[in-house]
């Protein structure tokens, strides 16, 4: 291919731009819940986000990346003319990136995932042909955008109900918090480790059987639990510290729990959303490297690294400010609620990541927050905003798609010299 280096360069730049955008904006929603509830300071939140976003992207980001890369478009349609796919993927990245930039400037509730998927479907259907889209897969993905908030909502509802029953509504909430919170911490470590083991670790040379995975996951659950218990022991309980609100001490214990769910949330977000930036890059790289469309090629690890690094840069340059702003506004979410929402959302997203389905972390989290609200856990929720957020993907899909089509033809006009063969 004539412009191979160009393509690689553009892919890297656009991919980095996109990853930067995810780190700058998207991460904020995932992390702000922890900052808002004062479980983490802003500095700690950035540290947690940087480490776990990166870990999630690198360790568990492969499945979704491969869906974005080759699960949506039937590449055999362009076997004669692989450059079309290169243009398309570049256009999709650019379209999603630009759309996100515009939307976040305006404060519109859009999702990275929806933008990228819309963009890919858009350029493929128009630029290559309607039959080149795996519509059944697209339908599955679209359905997951409804199911994932629902599922995390139900999960959050159940988790929070259990918290009410076992701890908050009990006769001695403080004693029961000490007793039961470690089990929730165990659950965080166990679920995240299990899902990662089962699906993600082949590319770093770790291939475990199902039984082994469960064992390792249980062990990592135990380790996190031990850390949690030690941290809880260190909490200073001030008797009647605040007679105006008798649950201040209990919330402190939940604050510890929330540090763990915040890590889980960052991990889950990294595992699912890095693909939005990295998937198209991977597609371009594989075509350029092989000179043709190769469906079976493995994902290069460095591409996941690129995505992880991009997210961390976005976080460091701009994202921390967004976290601060959003966090300051959501103080309603005390640790006992925030953890329930985060645990539910993180579990849902990680499961989606393992299955290779790109979902919106923000929407999943919104679903979880609603779930807690349904259990009478939150002072007030603005349903109009919730509805707007949930409906936003109806706008985002065509917007991403149309932009991608425009960029596709633009790139084609610049670089295209006719079919390769």
């Amino acid at each position: 291919m004539e412009f191979s280096l160009w393509y690689l360069g553009l892919a890297a730049v656009f991919g980095l731009f996109m990853a930067w955008g995810i780190g700058a904006n998207d991460v904020a929603n995932a992390m702000a819940t922890s900052v808002g509830s004062k479980a983490l300071t802003i500095k700690q939140a950035i540290l947690v986000a940087a480490v776990f976003e990166f870990a999630g992207a690198f360790l568990a980001g492969g499945q979704v990346t491969s869906t974005i890369r080759k699960g949506i478009i039937d590449a055999t349609q362009v076997i004669d003319d692989p450059e079309l796919l290169v243009f398309g993927m570049l256009a999709a990245l650019l379209a999603a990136g630009v759309w996100l930039l515009v939307a976040s400037r305006k404060g519109w509730p859009v999702s990275t995932t929806h933008s990228v998927v819309g963009a890919i479907v858009g350029f493929a259907a128009v630029g290559i042909g309607v039959e080149s889209v795996y519509w059944s897969k697209v339908v599955t993905i679209a359905a997951s955008w409804v199911i994932s908030p629902l599922m995390s909502g139900v999960l959050a509802f159940l988790i929070f109900m259990s918290v009410q029953k076992l701890i908050l509504g009990s006769k001695d909430p403080l004693a029961n918090a000490r007793k039961y919170v470690p089990f929730y911490i165990f659950a965080v470590g166990f679920i995240l480790a299990l899902v990662t083991m089962l699906k993600g670790l082949k590319h770093i040379g770790l291939d475990l059987s199902y039984g082994e995975s469960v064992m390792v996951a249980a062990a990592s659950g135990m380790i996190t639990m031990t850390i949690g218990v030690l941290a809880i022991k260190r909490i200073k309980i001030i008797p009647n510290e605040d007679s105006d609100f008798r649950f201040a001490n209990v919330e402190k214990i939940f604050g510890i729990l929330m540090i763990f769910t915040a890590c889980g949330m960052a991990f889950a977000h990294g595992s699912n959303d890095v693909a939005n930036a990295v998937g198209p890059v991977a597609a371009v790289v594989s075509i350029v490297k092989n000179g043709a469309v190769v469906q079976e090629s493995a994902l290069s690890t460095w591409i996941l690294l690129l995505g992880g690094i991009g997210i961390v840069i976005g976080l460091a340059t701009y994202g921390w400010r967004v976290i601060q702003t959003v966090g300051r506004r959501i103080t309603e979410l005390t640790p006992s609620r925030g953890f329930a929402a985060e645990l539910a959302a993180a579990s849902t997203v990680v499961i989606a990541s393992a299955t290779g389905i790109p979902v919106s972390t923000t929407h999943t989290l919104v679903g979880a927050i609603l779930g807690v609200g349904m259990a009478r856990g939150i002072g007030a929720l603005n349903l109009r905003v919730v509805r707007n957020i949930m409906l936003s993907w109806l706008v985002t899909l065509p917007a991403g798609g149309i932009l991608a089509i425009v960029f596709f033809f633009l790139l084609k006009a610049i670089f295209y010299r006719g079919a390769a063969i």
Partner: protein, 225 residues
């Protein structure tokens, strides 16, 4: 600013403003104690001042009430019913209204409480203020109710507070009866118009506790849901 839509899902909870309103109402009603003391001592300067304070605080409570009402759009999803919040608010406001009425009546007609009634009347005022304070204590539990997701233990706790409120209110009822009997005995000695208005003062003072109790019953309805 990006991400702002996400924080937008958290509406403004009505709980804190509701408590602040009640706090204002309590300080308004509490002013009746020094007011009554001044009235019984026939210190006009002092009781006019206290009456002005009462009116002022009632106005402030009114402003808080209006602010809270504006804050409750129908798209807000809350663990407590919107209607219950508004009704509690109305009841709380009426408590302050009664306090203002009592002070207004007494100052407006420059009334004197007959000597034999003074001690009992002071008690009635004090107990009415207590009813109000007790209602505030119960309203203060709203945070904890929501924190526990209306857990059983917390609901029982609030239930106990409300029973105490009922007891206080009953005492004011008994005190009113006693005061009326006292007044009845004096009817031959006093000017008929004054008698009429004294009955009214007793009534209105009793209303404070009555309405405070109704704040409690509204709260009870919230628990039942």
């Amino acid at each position: 600013m990006s991400g702002s839509y996400f924080s937008g899902i958290f509406g403004k909870s009505p709980v804190k403003p509701l408590q602040q309103h009640m706090e204002k109402v309590v300080s308004c009603v509490s002013e009746l104690v020094p007011f009554t003391r001044a009235v019984l001592a026939s210190d006009k300067e002092a009781y006019t001042l206290h009456q002005q304070n009462i009116v002022e605080m009632e106005n402030e409570a009114d402003i808080l009430k209006k602010e809270l009402r504006l804050r409750l759009p129908s798209s807000l999803f809350m663990p407590i019913d919107r209607r219950d919040v508004l009704e509690v608010l109305t009841m709380q406001d009426m408590v302050a209204g009664s306090a203002r009425d009592v002070a207004g009546l007494i100052v407006g007609r420059d009334m004197r409480i007959p000597k034999s009634m003074r001690k009992s009347y002071r008690k009635l005022v004090k107990q009415s203020v207590n009813a109000c304070k007790q209602a505030y204590v119960a309203i203060c539990e709203l945070d904890e109710l929501i924190e526990t997701g209306f857990g059983k233990v917390e609901r029982k706790r609030v239930g106990r507070l409300l029973i105490k409120l009922d007891t206080i209110e009953q005492q004011t009822d008994e005190q009113q009866v006693a005061l009326r009997n006292e007044l009845f005995k004096l009817e031959n000695e006093l000017h008929p118009v004054n008698i009429m208005f004294l009955y009214k003062v007793i009534d209105t003072t009793g209303n404070i506790a009555d309405r405070a109790q109704r704040v409690g019953s509204r709260l009870q309805l919230m628990l039942a849901r």
